[in-house]
């Protein structure tokens, strides 16, 4: 097809605006770079193209964001992947939350304070240039944790929410390095039962300040708060979640089930806008990222300095000061079907909830599949994608039309344990640390 005829086609199929039921919407977000699809969809007018008039509102923390979504003050929000699942199964505030759109892959890191890093360094092998060899295992931290235990001091680390990706990633990393991150139980929701390392909740933007104050010795959080620690010289990122689990699913866009039922066209329209934003963010090998960083650095969005946000958004990541490494996939917004809501992603989060005792009893494999299907809405996603393809705004080849919702089994984890979303119980039994089926 020639360029001219392609252009003709694009104009011949004018964007037929969906007849949206509700056009004035308020969406919540947390000041993290992975809220980018929302900011981009707003600033580039993708929401308006769909006839949606959106207000974007930063929220104080994940709990406030979830509660405000549930009671309708927010129509939808940038959510931790675990939030819709936990809310739906009634862990924490109970409500049926669904998601037609995954927002990104990867994007988190684990940072430790300078003192811990100095000690850890001695336990890490270095290459010929004197740089630490990656990925760094938590076992390098084990002697320090041991020493803290002997001295009777708690070894505290921060994560952002009990059902956050960060909690599970930090736990995964610690457990893979032989450190016990602690269990939850029905009557002890501290998550610190039997723990070597005590994890507690701190809202993302406060992570650097809390680390600086010495309340925690390290944390797992999304960007820009790891790079912020490097810039402020208060901590050193030791590993990114890309190295813990290659291309792990991260945030989702959550809406209440009631909202999607009352406003099916609005749901479709906003999914379309978000898909377009995601495409734009990854287009031409991240060519638009600098512009995205400029948008995000505005005080109404993430608001951190341009350089801090750019450090991770433009394909590099700075570990120890000066140790800048290329991680082109540090945050992925569209490629590798990042935005398609896979059931297998949902099930991975559920397995981690079971592994650490947030889900207090064994569940059959079917239960996992049912929960995933009631929360993740790939049909809505594909419907929105189809409309975009028909309007000439997206490429047919970019979407997994025939997927059954499960990704191929993968062993791309730091400990090499293979995950298959179809067999969650078998997966749980593979771990040395963590609750097992029947155990």
């Amino acid at each position: 097809m020639t360029a001219a005829s392609f252009a003709l086609l694009a104009t011949a199929a004018p964007a037929e605006m969906l007849d949206v039921e509700k056009d004035e919407l308020t969406f919540g977000f947390i000041k993290l770079t992975d809220m980018a699809p929302l900011a981009v969809a707003y600033e580039l007018g993708y929401f308006e193209d769909e006839g949606l008039f959106v207000t974007l509102e930063p929220q104080a923390n994940w709990k406030v964001l979830l509660d405000r979504t549930i009671d309708g003050e927010l129509d939808g929000a940038h959510m931790l992947a675990g939030q819709p699942l936990a809310a739906t199964i009634g862990y924490g505030t109970e409500a049926h939350i669904v998601t037609p759109f995954s927002m990104d892959l990867n994007g988190n890191g684990i940072t430790v304070s300078n003192e811990i890093w100095e000690e850890m360094k001695g336990n890490i092998e270095h290459d010929a240039d004197g740089k630490p060899i990656h990925p760094i295992s938590a076992s390098a931290m084990a002697p320090i944790v041991e020493r803290y235990k002997d001295e009777g001091k708690p070894f505290n680390m921060g994560m952002v929410f009990p059902v956050s990706t960060h909690n599970y990633e930090l736990r995964y990393w610690l457990a893979a390095g032989g450190l016990h991150p602690g269990f939850y139980s029905a009557d002890n929701t501290s998550g610190q039962i039997d723990a070597d390392v005590l994890l507690s909740v701190t809202p993302p933007p406060q992570m650097p300040a809390t680390l600086e104050a010495g309340t925690i010795l390290g944390y797992c959080v999304g960007e820009p708060w790891n790079q912020q620690a490097v810039f402020k010289g208060i901590g050193v990122p030791v590993i990114t979640d890309y190295q813990i689990w290659k291309n792990n699913p991260e945030k989702v866009f959550g809406l209440t089930k009631a909202f999607t039922e009352e406003n099916p066209n609005t749901t479709l329209a906003l999914t379309k806008a978000l898909i377009r934003a995601a495409i734009w963010l990854d287009e031409n090998d991240n060519a638009n990222r600098p512009e995205a960083v400029e948008i995000l650095s505005r005080s109404e969005y993430v608001g951190a300095d341009y350089d801090v946000i750019a450090a991770s958004m433009t394909g590099t990541f700075e570990f120890e000061k000066g140790d800048v490494r290329d991680i082109p996939d540090f945050n992925v917004f569209f490629r590798y079907n990042a935005t398609y809501p896979y059931y297998s992603d949902a099930i991975w989060y559920l397995t981690q909830m079971r592994r650490w005792g947030q889900i207090t009893e064994d569940k059959p494999d079917e239960w996992y599949a049912e929960v995933a299907q009631s929360v993740y809405l790939p049909e809505t996603y594909l419907e929105a994608a189809r409309l975009l393809v028909d309007e000439g705004l997206a490429n047919e080849a970019d979407f997994p039309w025939d997927s059954d919702g499960y990704k191929e089994a993968t062993a791309a984890f730091i400990d090499g344990v293979e995950y298959d979303g179809r067999a969650p119980n078998a997966y749980l039994n593979k771990f040395e640390i963590g609750l097992k089926t029947g155990g």
Binding site: G72, E73, P203, P205, G303, A304
Partner: protein, 357 residues
Amino acid sequence: MSAVTDTDLTREARRERLFTRINKADGYFQVLGLSWLTPALKLAAGDNARGNLSEIWRLLGVPILAILVFLAGWATLAPQVQTSLGAIPGPVQVYEQAVNLHKDAQREADKAAAFAERQEVRNAKLIAEGKEDRVKWREYTGAPTYYQQIWTSLQTVFFGFMIATVIAVPLGIACGLSPTINAAMNPIIQIFKPVSPLAWLPIVTMVVSAVYVTNDGMFSKSFLNSAITVTLCSLWPTLINTALGVSSIDKDLINVGKVLKLDTRTKITKLVLPSALPLIFTGLRLSLGVGWMVLIAAEMLAQNPGLGKFVWDEFQNGSSQSLAKIMVAVLTIGMIGYLLDRLMYALQTMFTFSAQR
């Protein structure tokens, strides 16, 4: 000769009148916080230079000097404190950020204009296509500007303050008139008075979301949460002062009321209120001050889009400009607090005068 004395006399009289007028204006100047204008005017009118100059120095020179000393101290000390967000900003950086905030507001205004234009075009197109039913006019939905945030804060504080007044004044009058009611209310007042807004807020939040279930009501929940928290904290000064004002009315007045057999309503409106007004206003003034102070904390947690949320968001941003922007907010909050106090003072003076007549 007589003509000369005449003009002298008229000049003298005119001078007298001028001074009377200046002295009268002094009352207003004091209310406005411009009391230095009085000696300045007197000086201009040819009054004794020495006394007036020293007055002007005391009323205008000293405060200005103090502010200059403060600014100089700030400018020299601030850069010496290094935080992880860079040095504490001095007056210059804070001024720059104030300008930046203004520019942001202008940028938002431009964006709003562009939005209106796009809407215009879109709707015109829909009409041209014969789809009038799909034409919609919508408000621009950008981020709130600094000015809008100030406005939200003011609305919230006045709403909360209004509710507080409506509750506290009648209750205070009841307490003042009846020792029994006073005895009943006293322990409750004493217990709830010292409670911090941060303790009220979670309770208020839960109650509001349970009771105020509609989502397209007149007020947003975050607005109500902050406003009601303001109410709960700013209730007490008015209540206590009203009770005190009412209970300390001249006994003779009450006796006169008894002799005239006034009914309760007339007694309250003709006797109690006028003589208790000065103290009621003192209470209101304190209440508004407390309310404004509490509001910032409430907004931070309730996510009401006012100055409190601005401070919180900037703190979360953690950019190199954040501290300076927060200081702009601190100064704004202080100045508005001062203006609110002046406003209440002016009202108090106005009403107290009429009460004395």
